[in-house]
Amino acid sequence: MTDLSQSQTAQGAAASEQPTAAGSLRRKRRIGEVIIQSFLFLCGFLSIFITMGIVYELGKESLLFFGSRQWENSNKPITQRIEVDTTQFAVSTSGFTLDIEDLIRVDEELMLITGLDETLVTVERGFDGSEAVAHNAGAVIEIATEATLREFFTTTQWNPQIGQFGIWALATSTLLTSAIAVVVALPLGLATAVYLSEYASQKARNTLKPILEILAGVPTVVYGYFALTFMTPLLRSIFGKDVVAIYNTASAGIVIGILILPLVSSMSEDALSAVPRSLREAAYGLGATRLETAVKVVVPAAFSGIVAAFIVAVSRAIGETMIVAIAAGAGPAFTFNPFQSAETMTGHIVRISGGDLSYDSLDYNSIFAIGLMLFFMTLALNIFSQRIVRRFREVYE
């Protein structure tokens, strides 16, 4: 702008310090612009660093979870002395149940169970390079728990204390609560946004929008107790006490839906009201009603912004912790019944990280593996929705 005006005055040839007209029009190298652009790029690139940090931290700790073997006292002493070459011996009936292919440890020696007959155990001695030695009666059998990737993804029971590591028990309930929340929040939020943007007066919008946004700031603990002491009894009185368990994913999901409602409504409303007025006027000019203008013109034009709102809201629903921890119960269960209790991934992470378990137990380390899994779940969701946006995005002038 300044260049232009300067070159105009240059033609007037009045002042002495003017540059020549030709020089001023040549493209100048602007150091300031370059610095600003690099700074902005760094801002954007920071997100990559954050992601790498998260993946690195979680990955490092997850290795501890998948790689390590943990010994637990089975409370099952041997009932007779075992010599160096004995491969079959009796154990007491108390304590843990042993299974074929279980790895056990007596004193320092590892053994692999190959056969089982009531209390009589057949083993492969000196397993994994350990030395086969004699053991006295009464020696304690320790049983190995080990989490493998295969077990993690293919089984459906999650009880690290007794060696069950099937992530689906936790993952399905995360999907369930998020799905319920989305079913509640998306239609309500979008309808609210359309109302605020297309129907409400300027004044009404300026008051109603911040009021709804309060919902996003209510502490989630309060929501949790709201779900437990208000929503659950409500559901139980509608569907019957026998159908709805006291802790259930449905009430947690509905209340998460209320929590994310302002995310959907506020962000969508912004997108809707950013649609140029000319589009609306054109629609009205063709004789469209208000609804038709809103639904057929404005909403498609704001589609990218609305999807962004959905993504943020869904992501928040997946990551929500306190509500599910209080209202959905703390027992991992593989179920698709929304009226049953089932612990979610986030609920498990927060419970274990605040609990009394030792920090070097498998259970404690599992929270990192769960976190990583959660990370990849949201990643998949995002890549998928990004595709959709790309496909349906409409650009107006």
Binding site: N75, L228, A330, G355, D356, L357
Partner: protein, 342 residues
């Protein structure tokens, strides 16, 4: 428009300055606080019972020690440590004492692995592996028993058939039995609804240890079992049905006494005398842990622990727990004296 953006930036700066100012006013308080130390040497506070304090303990007078005390650990021990920390400050301690409620596991981690805290509050004894990691950073954990948390086994007050159970029956109720009649034939043929604390909690761990001989399988495999992290939430669950049963910390029962019935175990009622004389079988110890080097190097930590051990019995009931037995407390005090070399 540009002006408005500047206005925004100005607003953010003003906000930060307001924050700084808030902090600033308190910063001026802090030196004044420490200045009071020299003023008084005796702490004859009415409510803290300093009678037990001998003369050699004068160096552990709360009003003369300086520096911060950092404690972290179990959420069960938290209310007790919080109360003691507050009274410690009321007795004249002018430094900053913090109690973080992060769970026993993380409490041991901060004490034994990261070496950040001076005291670990825990609701379970330290494990061997934890002692090892403590030793590898040069700390030798010393255990101080500070109280007892009785586990209450409760049913709804609508339940009129159970009043007393044996340990074997408890194992059946929370394990293999499907219906109440599976446990005792005269009880109704209704499914048992179980409400238990989360598997990560010291309460669960202790119950499994005492009732199931450390074998978690039966209790985790039992049907109709609802787990919750929060004992208040468990209370809500048990209130819902006459066939429900659950267990959790005694304080949560005491608060809902009217609506819940507590069961005697092996004929022993969970009342103070029975917990004191160890006849009630489900009484869980509460501890704090520290290390001799810390006690010597940081007199304020020693002062706090001594204050804790001499005054805890006046407060423990009010907070909702049972006192540790006199013998245990005496042992804790002796351990303290040995650690500081007296």
């Amino acid at each position: 428009m540009q002006r408005k953006l500047y206005a925004l930036l100005a607003l953010l700066i003003v906000m930060s300055m307001v924050l700084a100012a808030c902090g600033g006013s308190t910063a001026t308080d802090a030196p004044a606080d420490t200045g009071t130390d020299s003023g008084d040497t005796s702490t004859d506070s009415g409510d803290t019972g300093d009678d037990a304090m001998d003369d050699p303990m004068a160096m552990y007078d709360p009003a003369t020690v300086t520096g911060d005390v950092v404690t972290a650990g179990s959420s069960t021990v938290f209310p007790l440590s919080e109360r003691m920390a507050e009274l410690f400050r009321q007795a004249g301690y002018a430094g900053n004492i913090t109690v973080d409620s992060i769970g026993s596991g993380a409490g041991y981690e901060r004490f034994c692995v990261e070496g950040e805290s001076d005291i670990a509050n825990t609701s379970r004894p330290i494990r061997d592996t934890e002692v090892e990691s403590c030793q590898s950073i040069g700390r030798n954990p010393i255990e101080f028993r500070v109280g007892t948390d009785a586990l209450a086994v409760v049913v709804s007050s609508e339940n009129d058939f159970v009043t007393d159970v044996s340990m074997e029956e408890l194992a059946l109720i929370f394990g293999e039995a499907e219906t109440w009649s599976d446990v005792r034939s005269e009880w109704p043929d209704e499914p048992i609804q179980r409400f238990i604390p989360g598997t990560d909690s010291g309460t669960f761990d202790y119950f499994v240890e005492e009732v199931f001989d450390e074998n978690e399988e039966p209790i985790l495999a039992a049907s109709n079992t609802q787990l919750s992290e929060d004992d208040n939430v468990l209370v809500q669950g048990i209130l819902g049905s006459p066939y429900a049963i659950g267990f959790y910390g005694y304080a949560y029962y005491a608060e809902n006494e009217g609506a819940l019935n507590i069961l005697s175990i092996e004929g022993v009622e969970p009342i103070r005398e029975n917990v004191d004389n160890n006849s009630y079988p489900l009484a869980r110890p509460l501890f704090i842990y520290s290390d001799a080097t810390i006690l010597v190097e940081k007199p304020q930590v020693a002062s706090f622990i001594w204050f804790y051990l001499t005054n805890v019995n006046d407060e423990v009931v009010d907070v909702g727990y049972f006192p540790a037995s006199d013998a245990d407390l005496l042992a804790a005090r002796n351990a303290f004296l040995a650690a500081v070399g007296r």
